[in-house]
């Protein structure tokens, strides 16, 4: 008991017996999870396993049916003001230019801050462009800049790279990783792409039918070598678990409710 308390006492996000259902259908069932400040967690699973619902709960857009979400020990009751979210479809306002999109939600004019974040995502020379003129990857860069300008302590990424081509996706992955290494906000990435999850996250959580089925720490040094044997076997193992491969049937139990938090691996450049 004491140990559990110690584990969660300095956690940033803490889910306690979290349930969510829509019209009688249970989406999330008894979720328990602690996420440490500055940790990068990826959530993978089949479509409809409740990944996106979990992010919506963390952003405060939805309320849990039962259970609690604690952010810095305080229960989340409304929109989570320290979180920013990035969606698969970017959700830029088409009637605002890049710069105005980035400044959305800020009080007053913040030209300098906006320029800094746009420079960080490599778009400082497209600031007066309409979103409709940008490519998919550039739109997501603007969306990322819009999130970063708020200095979020929690970044929620809802399949932000799902609609991008393979090359742009790799570019964006390393951009997100670089920015995260610099700023160390807690990050939750929901993704279909197991390789992306293993490449970016400190641990990968596998959701299955609304429950945490696996909780896999990825103690590989960064930036991660995708052709490294540990990398490829980890990806393969997680994939097997998602598709219920017979070899892994026996392990399909929520074994990790009191998951010990691993230290973030040292950055190796």
């Amino acid at each position: 008991m004491k140990e559990e308390k110690e584990n969660t006492s300095h956690s940033h996000i803490h889910l306690k017996n979290l349930y969510k259902s829509y019209n009688g259908t249970q989406i999330l069932k008894d979720l328990n999870l602690a996420i440490r400040k500055g940790e990068f967690v990826a959530i993978v699973g089949k479509s409809g396993c409740g990944k996106s619902t979990l992010l919506r709960l963390l952003s405060g857009l939805e309320k849990p049916t039962d259970g609690k979400i604690l952010v810095d020990e305080k229960e989340l009751m409304s929109i989570n003001r320290q979180s920013c979210m990035m969606f698969q479809d970017g959700r830029l306002l088409p009637w605002k230019r890049v710069l105005e999109n980035v400044e959305l939600g800020l009080k007053g004019i913040h030209r300098e801050e906006a320029m800094v974040v746009l420079r960080n995502v490599g778009l400082e020379n497209r600031i007066h462009e309409w979103p409709s003129k940008l490519s998919g990857g550039q739109k997501q860069r603007v969306a990322l800049a819009r999130a970063l300008i708020h200095n979020p302590s929690l970044l929620l990424l809802d399949e932000p790279l799902g609609a991008l081509d393979a090359f742009t996706r790799l570019e964006m992955q390393s951009l997100i990783e670089d920015i995260w290494i610099n700023q160390r906000f807690t990050t939750l990435l929901v993704t279909h792409d197991v390789e992306e999850a293993v490449a970016l996250a400190d641990r990968v959580i596998l959701l299955k039918e609304g429950r945490i089925a696996h909780n896999v720490p990825i103690p590989l040094p960064r930036p991660r070598q995708r052709d490294h044997s540990v990398f490829t076997t980890t990806v393969k193992q997680i994939l097997m678990q998602i598709i219920d491969h017979p070899d892994h049937k026996g392990r399909n139990v929520a074994e990790d409710l009191n998951y010990p938090i691993h230290p973030i691996p040292k950055v190796v450049l």
Binding site: L61, I79, S132
Partner: protein
């Protein structure tokens, strides 16, 4: 060279058909193929216009019609816009009024002319009332629909980024509904002129419609055609204004952006 030639061509091309028709018209009148009792020659219409401009009659009638159109458009448009906004934004007013508006919308407003004449006589009120009624529904419907069809994902994003209700409306809902609202404005500008033509033709002592009906009494074919042309001209003018607004306010929209 090639570029300037194609640009001249693209500017002249749309005018070739109307000018040929006009020429054909003039020739068939002057050669007697078409009787002047059916149509006056284009030149006669032109001289009638010059004549009426000299007496000031043309400007007077056009001005009176324009004034009625604008007042009616303003009154009906404002009511339609505000009602559309309220019903698009608030569930309560929507439940309270939408059904009634939809019922009223299906009555052809020109069918009310006998009633309107009994209520207001043939004064200004009758015409302004009819124009207001005519423009109200297109603007109402398109404003309402525009607000209802704003991307929910954008509203959700706005909430996450801490926008309050007012700035959600200002930054997301209204700009999102604007293209639909402008369609309503364009549609109702057409409605405005149609209503005014009918109303002025039936009961009036001034305005373009009156000018046409008065000319009929004296068999002044040229003035009748001139009146019809005035309506066409004013209709086209309002369309140009509406297009200008679309280009200005929807310049972010790839479909409306000026082709360069």
């Amino acid at each position: 060279m090639k570029h300037s030639f194609s640009s001249i061509l693209s500017k002249t091309l749309p005018w070739i058909v109307p000018f040929s028709l006009l020429l054909l018209w003039q020739i068939s009148i002057k050669t007697g193929i078409l009787s002047t009792k059916i149509l006056p020659a284009p030149t006669d219409v032109y001289f009638a216009a010059i004549e009426l401009m000299k007496t000031g009659e043309l400007f007077h009638h056009v001005w009176v019609s324009l004034w009625r159109a604008l007042i009616g458009f303003f009154i009906g448009g404002s009511i339609g816009f505000i009602l559309g906004l309220l019903n698009g934004l608030f569930r309560t007013t929507e439940m309270l009024t939408d059904t009634s508006v939809q019922m009223l919308r299906n009555i052809p407003h020109l069918a009310l002319i006998p009633l309107v004449i009994l209520w207001f006589g043939i004064g200004e009120e009758a015409k302004i009332f009819l124009v207001s009624l005519g423009v109200l529904f297109p603007i109402y419907l398109n404003t309402y629909h525009g607000i209802k069809s704003v991307d929910q994902g954008l509203i959700e994003m706005g909430r996450i980024y801490g926008l309050n209700k007012f700035s959600l409306f200002l930054n997301i809902i209204f700009p999102g509904a604007l293209s639909s609202i402008l369609v309503g404005i364009r549609f109702s500008l057409g409605m405005m002129w149609i209503t005014l033509i009918v109303a002025e033709t039936i009961s009036s002592t001034s305005g373009i419609g009156y000018m046409a009906m008065n000319a009929r009494e004296f068999m002044q074919m040229d003035v009748i055609i001139l009146s019809i042309l005035m309506y066409a001209f004013l209709g086209k003018l309002s369309d140009i204004i509406a297009r200008f607004l679309e280009r200005r306010w929807l310049k972010w929209h790839p479909g409306y952006a000026k082709h360069s």
